[in-house]
Symmetry: D2
């Protein structure tokens, strides 16, 4: 089957899963999204870009942003980051404080909220204009010069951000923040509120399928670093359902409560699916189903 | 470089790691093993078998046995097993009871002790002679008709088995054991005490690199099942250091406190390393180092 | 009001609480008890003994037995016991393993099951016939030479004792048991299955109101030891609702899932109430209500 | 022995304990206090006031302030408070977030920091000038019209207040704060920084020994409310060492990291000890020793 008809076929089946989930409702900007939206895009290492459904409609990337701040911090600072954040699955929900208390302010991995706050904090120390660096990277890789944060969503995030503020203050109390809590949170809420389409995200994540090479052929990460980021995505990318995601999909992936999932098939392609209705752990139901079908139908998997 | 000289090279470097670790000492049968032993074997899907160092010396396979009971239970019973054991990384040590209490007797995954006890329990319900089935499978795949349990080690395990007895009774209190605690423990201690060499284990695990096909070409698992077992090995195979193992080695792997690690490169080969000196989480120090070198030097990785 | 009419009045009101609770149902011997039973007895330091309702009907004393094994161990062995068991409220249910894992096999206090198993274990080491010692103490203090264990209940406890077996094996794995798990459990199940009436228990506990003096005037505990046992009863006697019990009743007390509660007013009297319908934490609903009324009406309280 | 010589005798012995502890050092205002300071005061229900050592020297009352905000909130609002904060011992350190996550933002009791923040929050809702109300209460009861907050200490608390900010934001995320996090923290840091002497505190706490009656004979709490506050002090007043405090001292007590402890003997007297060197849980070493000696020598105890 052609890749295009395969994607169309998946769309027709997976989009039905929306009925079983619930759109994130903690801020208006997410609660108002139509749960029946569905999009999927594939960007191949050969340069092909295909999609189906709402694959060109921008949505709130939320925690998928954590992948990009992580790779930028690694690219700038190498392995030093790992003294301040682990790379173990947490076994806990994405916003848990329990593990943080037991392990004295060192988050388990860079994809739970606490870990992402540490990564953002590091990026703020490394780059004068950290947010500009992030935005310009995403614009360049996706080829979308207008890509930006949804200010309304960012403001809402800040208003409903008590849990993240608790995480940041908690880490600060252990000395694991270099910048002020307010500065870190401001950046974090803005990075989560960036709006991108499936096509944009598939393009922007392609360097992870290309062993570290950016769109223009320049090297962002060494092959070893790219491999390691993929490993962390596989073990930690979907929080306390990472094991189930690996079991069903078998790919490195990172979800966001906006309903997007970015997944990587090293050496082949990057994929992005969008379906705003979530399972209880905050991962897109239609998205996991679509990726499950994709790997089953193509036989492409890392295992 | 030839695979053989590559293995020899790795052996000369990784074996030095023994000095930084500690041999498991909770039973005499393990405590007496020379920490400086080192062996490594590779079995390729093309049928090649190579090794270096003590690759033909049998050692106590311990928790590596959990892979084989799991696949036998899945082969006999399909997905039903997953209602009694999860497939999420636990984020806790291999013998923790904490998670079990919070999640009402359902172990997080089949590779922590509690989960392996459930798998063994299921196998005992499915097969009249469960231990015979396991032994005959291992003998056939490794081509070693004399392969057996070290009775002395099994007896020691039972004598020092209070923690596992606690786990079994605890699950029984939640109704998650079908057989008597004594029967399950007896099988469990014997399966952990099986003695095999790196060569034996690499051969016995090869079906996971061959997408489910056994040595004689018969099918043990469907490709999808084999993929899923590999996924669970990657996310859960080394307990609370699974994330770090994925980060450094990037392969599905299963460790045992006897110092062995079985690792799989799907479509290519299975590997077994042995180095009895362990890190604090109970994983072979030389073993992880050797696998790290192997994937770096060959560029073979799932990511 | 006379004490007798006060007790009768309380009985008429508190016994109605039975409708809101649930009889312990994990073993037949407890499940078959009529939830509407209600009895209450008061034994004063002046030697008076009064009661109301079913105050002469024997019931299963269950965890109230923990008070008596504790004082016998303290009387024989002094403060040495406290190296193996703490005296802090646990904040967890009576049969939790979580705290035990975090604190390496040292139970928080002697009234949670794990702590009571340690106390029983110690008593078994101190006394050749530990159970005989316990029984003879209870018979003497209550003046009931025929008082004994209900063998049927003891057998049922053993059959449904996986959780306690898990606790005992778990502590054994940390080296915090001196006798075999089987021996400790056997004693523990028998001590919990002792049948006594409210009158018997009020008499048997009177030494705690008499600052350590037994019925015959001999000294069991020093005044300081008696004060300390009362303190531990107040902070730990009703598990994770000890704070609420202190708040409402304001007395040292110890509950059992048979529906009994023993409470002490130092210098004045000991009280025992029985009402088999329990709240979710395993404490008698009518019992707490009756003690609450008693302290309110008499103004007798430690605070 | 006269009470005065008894106090002098205790002072000469207990003050030596200072050598074994450590002054709180997280803010300069506390770190600079001389660890060898020692004071003790007794205020009897008959109106006597005695003291020894540094009993007239003001120190930072810290968490002892939690008793006063609690009783003011109860006096104004009755039992409604208990829907937002429990009254169970936490079994965790005073600033733990773990329990708060498991129990969805409801603190275990009003004496751990989280619970005290909820009480402060409630007081801010009940009283336009909550801090003025607190200060005027303390001034009146102690007879010290100049008693006030140490502004320097309050400012330091705010600068080092990340852990408390984390607790406040965390509870806000569960909807368990009525006022802004900043407003609650500001009040909390100021109440903790109030400076009072042993004499002042013993006088200010006397209403708890007088079953709710203030210095001027007016009623602050009903006898039942006073009894309940004493019960909560006994079970929760010294955090995760409350059981040990009850065991050794046997009195309702509340400690602060400034080194003070307020203790109550209902119907008799209130006591305050001050010794800045703390045990690891944050309780004055000399203070506990002095109270232990006092209850042993006088035989005054609640048990």
């Amino acid at each position: 089957m052609h890749l295009q008809s395969l994607l169309d076929d998946i769309a027709s089946k997976s989009s039905a899963l929306a009925a079983k989930g619930k759109v994130a409702d903690y801020i208006p900007g997410l609660a108002q999204v139509d749960p029946n939206r569905f999009g999927m895009a594939v960007a191949t290492v050969e340069g092909e870009l295909l999609g189906t459904g709402d694959w060109l409609v921008p949505f709130s990337i939320q925690s998928i942003s954590k992948v990009f701040t992580l790779v930028l911090a690694l690219a700038l600072d190498g392995d030093k980051l790992w003294s301040r954040v682990g790379r173990e699955p947490s076994g806990d929900p994405f916003n848990s404080l329990v593990q943080l208390e037991h392990e004295r302010g060192i988050p388990r991995n860079p994809f739970i909220n606490a870990g992402a706050l540490v990564v953002t904090d590091r990026l703020l120390s490394l780059e004068e204009d950290a947010f500009g660096t992030l935005l310009s990277f995403l614009r360049h890789e996706s080829g979308q010069p207008d890509l930006d944060t949804d200010q309304e969503v960012a403001r809402s995030e800040a208003e409903h951000g008590h849990r993240n503020a608790a995480l940041a203050h908690f880490m600060a109390s252990f000395g694991n923040l270099e910048n002020s809590v307010d500065r870190v949170l401001d950046h974090y809420f803005r990075q989560c509120a960036i709006a991108m389409s499936c096509a944009d995200l598939a393009e922007a994540g392609l360097f992870l399928a290309r062993h570290g090479l950016r769109r223009d052929g320049s090297r962002l990460l060494s092959p070893s670093q790219a491999k390691r980021v993929n490993a962390v995505m596989l073990t930690c990318g979907t929080y306390d359902t990472a094991g189930d995601f690996a079991f069903r999909v078998g790919l490195p992936g990172k979800s966001g409560v906006g309903g997007g999932i970015l997944a990587i098939i090293p050496g082949r392609c990057s994929l992005c699916v969008w379906g705003p209705a979530l399972d209880p752990s905050g991962t897109s139901l239609a998205g996991v189903d679509a990726l499950d079908r994709f790997t089953t139908l193509t036989g492409w998997s890392v295992f």
